[in-house]
Symmetry: C2
Subunit: 170 residues, 2 copies
């Protein structure tokens, strides 16, 4: 990892872990319910060696937990520490949506119970509740592509509304 000599700074330490673009995309996919190596690889089109390294880093940092799944496949799931990254991820996505989504956001975040929009602070604009991450639905927005329905398994799964953290098991 990079050395921030003398950097007594929470941000520097945070960026040592997630301050690499692939890493945050992997974390994003974990919120979407991706758990298996092959699904991260297919969805992100990330070289397998890089994916291995990033997953190992996230496990060693306690952001992801690795557990045995069916058929010798290992599953990667967000820990509570990892789930704590949601507000930062949400804020980054919102900034990107504002500046780099000419057709509008590709995904919306809604309250699973009442389909209300959820603001950046995690409050449902319909019922006023402060939501846990598991209470969010991710739905498609105007920037989603019709081609998503015939893309990789993860993109296909995300073409219909689903709860965050609900496992995608194509």
């Amino acid at each position: 990892m990079a050395v921030y000599t003398g950097e007594n700074c929470s941000l520097a330490r945070t960026l040592e872990i997630i301050g690499e673009r692939w890493t945050l995309l992997i974390v994003r996919d974990a919120f979407y319910g991706v758990q298996r190596f092959a699904d991260f690889a297919a969805h992100l089109r990330i070289p397998r060696a890089v994916l291995s390294e990033r997953l190992a880093l996230l496990v060693s940092a306690g952001v992801l937990a690795k557990t045995p799944g069916a058929g010798r496949r290992e599953l990667y799931t967000l820990t509570d520490k990892g789930i704590g990254l949601f507000p930062a991820l949400r804020a980054l996505v919102a900034w990107g949506d504002q500046h780099y989504a000419p057709d509008g956001p590709r995904r919306h975040f809604r309250h699973a119970d009442d389909n209300g929009e959820v603001d950046l602070a995690g409050v449902c604009q319909l019922c006023g509740k402060s939501l846990a991450v598991r209470d969010y639905l991710v739905t498609t927005g105007p920037g989603a592509s019709p081609a998503d329905a015939s893309a990789d398994a993860v993109t296909r799964a995300l073409a219909t509304p689903r709860r965050l953290l609900e496992p995608i098991t194509p």
Copy 2:
């Protein structure tokens, strides 16, 4: 920049710009009021070639604006687009404070008018106002080091409370 083939995703585009650890530390420093090349370099201890490249990237992305300063020095200041990164930065710092600041946060964010704590959504916990970034004070927290008072000019300036975005001109 990295190629995210088929990545029709605001987060991927955002990370193409700020998804590199130095870049986000530069943006953080710009919120603290750092404006001059030499001050970024001294505070971050970043190689000058890397700093040049990152500043140019941030200017071309419209996150920073480059303007002429006194004595042929150029000044880098956050644009409105750049200031829009504050919620994401704040959330990342908060996550780092929670997990990587055993002595407590190095910096606190407070409302300049009444010294109230400001929550992650930007609301002063004392007066209830929703704050603009210019209304924040950055103050030292328990994780700050007494050595800060004799460190580089930026760290010294941050050893006393100051408003975000107020130029640091050592």
